[in-house]
Every structure is written in structure tokens, then in C-alpha cells.
Subunit: 253 residues, 2 copies
DNA sequence: GTAGCATACTTGTATATACAAGTATAGCGT
DNA sequence: ACGCTATACTTGTATATACAAGTATGCTAC
């Protein structure tokens, strides 16, 4: 029990990050690391109050938001518990494919096909809310899970916001991981569709004839500017997007 | 200004629903009805405090959660504003297809192909966490947007939880709408995949040869029981799933 | 005129407190 | 042995209060 509470050592009241966020991050890390396993009971709010010397409302907010994000489950009158781990890539969160693959116990590798700067074609310019022809960084890479191609990443990046992007080595760190380090997205848009691959795409993803692809298009904003827009293409037979979460309240709109 | 505040008439402190939820619902309705338009400024927290005679923390919680759900946007030091309307079906929320189609100004109709009770096949039983062979209600329906087929719905329902399901007329009200009236889901799971339609499916959806389908599988829990699991199949060329939302904070896990 | 400062208003976070309501358990009486 | 109750602990919600920090506006000094 006290072993669990020791995880919360580095909560600082004068940190730039708010306290409730620090608590959330700590719990997230413990769960992600496999340190806390599914079904395990978390300390009660009151235990955390005395352990962290923080108001109960602050802890309540942290745990409530974690519940909404599906990381923990709370039962009125009983306690808080680590939720079952979702088996699929999350549609909700921004996830680094390398991390995701490794969390499933497989090996990730990637190959950069293209990394250059191009004049934005009209569709891309429209997506990025830039005038057409404006230079944008362009990346095309394949990601492998145990040597099997599982994702084609086609990404455009606004060089005004991310000037160093073109100089990175994306075989060692994925573009997603790099970008997440560099900025904090404040808005995202996801679009999911099913498409048939052309011959090039089929070859790149080692796909048999007649198999569809699942395509995820994501735009990411920071300070009301589109920082990056990316198209992730998955072989339909090898991948599934998914999400599972608690619905504290849902709505029709 | 006061016209806006009049929307909050029916907030009751003794209602079974919590106050913050009533506030959320009120705002959601006003936005959904088109009453409040994108970009419009909402009353400040303090204005709502005096208007509703409710603590600021309660209002703060309502607005904070609406922000997280992408319905409104808040700017520190400036105010709260109605967010831009998302253009696509949301992956996050449970959406009634009839409503969604009508919100795009089109006409919705649907045709029930099958509505019966069957012994649960093994895959369905597994999905619904029931013993195989247990009777489950089974619905198969096509949804049309302006006479064009746009979604095939294949649904299984746990009759223990929803005993009246088999007796409904699903040409007048969709199964989603009916179920949403009947219970409050407390957990959901979504899986999205790309599949090739077989001949039957191609015919039902009036699809040309060689076109893939986007398939959304959703399970819905209430009180830790699977109430319903549904597979929604869309023609790949006529539909796109999407979501856009603010990321108050995102995380890698 | 303009730069800079003061101010008023906004949201963001944190606290202490209170009561309601759900769950499990120990212990009592029969 | 069985059922009921009291109790202790849990989460859920609501309030009043406080301070921090961001934004816009208007005023003042130059």
C-alpha cells in the first residue's frame, strides 16, 4: 500500500504544471509502465489527500478526468481501479506507433522513403490553411512491426512553426514522437476512411490484391495554426483502430 | 445578453440530475438547435453565477467538460465561445444516424431487413459476454440518405436488459435512438476497420465492384453488461468517420 | 501621437468544508 | 443459521473563497 503511495514523490506545488495534471501524469506513467496492473485498487481519495498534502477536490479532478479518459474505473462507494488495457490503437489520443508496437511486445522499425521540402499542392495547402505553393516539409515513411509493414506515413509539416523538422533523422525517432516533444497540440481533427490501394501502395505495404486499406487523416493545431497534417495508411487485414472508454455522460447532438 | 441567460430557466437544484449536468445539457441543446451559432460568446462564469444562483466551481466544471468535448472553446482571460461545428460523424459520441443525416439537410429513411430472436453464434456470444446459444435479439437494417443507401446496421441486443426491443417498429425510430432513450451507456468500445464487401453486401449498399467498406463495430455496456453490439458498414466512397476536438491535454501512453 | 501603465474583466487552479449516497462488514438479536 | 442494523469507508456533488494569470481597454505621461 505505501509502496503505491511512494510513486507520488515528485508532486510539487510550485511546479509550472498544475498539481492535478502532475497527479494524472504520475498515474498514467505507472499504468503505462505496467507497474500497476488492470483491476488493481488505487489509493482512496482521502489516502491521497494525506499522502500528497493536497486538497481532495484536486485529487478528485485528477481521478475524474482519468476516468473519462478510460484509464481508471471508479465505483461509487467502493474505490478506484486500474481499467483493462485497451487492445487497439486509440483513436482519441495521439499515439506514437513505435510505442504502441513495443507495448504489444513486438519490434518496431521504420524506413524513411522521402524527406524533403516541397511547394504545397492545392489540397495540402487547403488542409494546412496555407496559400498554395508555400514550402512545406514532406515526409514519407514506412513502419514495420517485426519486419512486416504495417503503416505508411505521409506527412506534411508547416516549417514556419517547426523549422528544424527537415533536419531530423527519423529512423531513430519517429516523426510523431519528435513533434510531440516539440509542441503541445491544442486541437486535432481525425478522419477515417476506407480506400483501395494503388499498385505502388500495395507494393510498399506488401499487400495482396483486392485488400482495402484503412486510412487515418489527422490535422494538428497549435495556436490556431495547422502544424502538421498526416495520412496514415494501414493494410486492412493487419490493423484495426479502436477505442474504449467510460462515458460519464454521452450526448446526442 | 439577457436573452441568452433566459435559456437557463429550468435549472433545478433538487433535480435527480446534478446541476453541472443540467447546465451542460442546456448549452448542448442550444448549440445543437442552432440557437447559438459558432463563434458566439457565452456568458462569463460570473454572469452565470448570479443568473443561476449556483457556485462558480459548478459552472466551471460544466464549461470545462464542454470544452473537453469540443463543443465550446475557452480563452484564458477572454471568455467562452461556441466552437465550430464538426462536419463529420463523431467517432466519440453515440450518434443517431437519422439525426446526423438531417443535420446535413438531407432526408433519412430506413428499411428493416430482419428483426428476430436468434441463438447467439459463438462470435456474437463472445462479444456480448454471454454463453453461446443464449437467445439474443437481432436487427438488420439499411439507412438511406436521400434514397441512397449509406449504412448497413447489423445489431444484436441482450434481451435480458432490453426485453421490449423485439417489439419495436424501427422504421419510425432508429434502433440507436430507441436504445438511447431506454438506457444510459456507461462504457463503450469502438473498433474501426476496412473490409471488402461480399456480393450480398455490395448489392444491399448499391456499391460498384472493387470498392471497400468502412466498418465500425461498437459495444455498449450498462451496469457491466453488454447491452448491444452493432456493426455499421458504410460504402467507402460515400462516408467518412471523423472527429475534431480540443486537447486540453493529450498524453502518450 | 504614442508608449507604457493601471485597471477591470476573464478563465485557471487550489483549498476547506459539507452533505449525499453507494458498498461492504462486523455484530447484534432472533 | 439467518436476517437486520449500525458503522466505517468510499466516491459524487456543491459551495464559498482565494489567488494566479491572460486579455483588452482606457488613461496618463511624455
Amino acid at each position: 500500500m505505501s509502496a503505491i503511495l511512494e510513486s507520488f514523490d515528485d508532486i510539487s506545488k510550485s511546479a509550472p504544471e498544475p498539481i492535478y495534471q502532475q497527479i494524472k501524469s504520475t498515474i498514467q506513467q505507472r499504468i503505462a509502465s505496467g507497474d500497476w496492473t488492470a483491476g488493481q485498487k488505487l489509493p482512496s481519495e482521502n489516502e491521497l489527500v494525506v499522502a500528497l498534502d493536497v486538497s481532495r477536490m484536486t485529487i478528485n479532478r485528477a481521478l475524474r478526468e482519468l476516468t473519462q479518459e478510460g484509464l481508471i474505473k471508479r465505483v461509487h462507494g467502493l474505490g478506484s481501479f486500474v481499467a483493462e488495457a485497451p487492445r487497439h490503437a486509440s483513436l482519441i489520443e495521439l499515439q506514437d506507433i513505435a510505442l504502441e508496437i513495443e507495448q504489444h511486445g513486438k519490434r518496431h522499425s521504420s524506413q524513411v522513403l522521402v524527406l524533403d521540402s516541397v511547394a504545397a499542392p492545392v489540397e495540402i495547402a487547403a488542409q494546412m490553411q496555407l496559400p498554395p505553393g508555400r514550402p512545406v516539409d514532406h515526409l514519407r515513411a514506412i513502419h514495420f512491426q517485426d519486419e512486416i509493414p504495417i503503416q505508411l506515413e505521409t506527412r506534411y509539416v508547416n516549417p514556419v512553426v517547426m523549422p528544424e523538422f527537415g533536419q531530423q533523422d527519423f529512423t531513430r525517432v519517429t516523426a510523431t514522437a519528435y513533434l510531440l516533444q516539440q509542441f503541445k497540440p491544442d486541437e486535432m481533427e481525425h478522419r477515417v476512411s476506407a480506400v483501395m490501394p494503388d499498385r505502388t501502395l500495395r507494393k510498399l505495404l506488401s499487400m495482396p490484391d483486392g485488400q482495402p486499406c484503412l486510412q487515418l487523416n489527422r490535422r494538428t493545431w497549435s495556436n490556431d495554426q495547422v502544424v502538421t497534417c498526416v495520412t496514415l495508411t494501414y493494410p486492412g487485414d493487419r490493423y484495426e483502430l479502436g477505442a474504449r472508454y467510460a462515458t460519464d455522460e454521452y450526448q446526442l447532438r
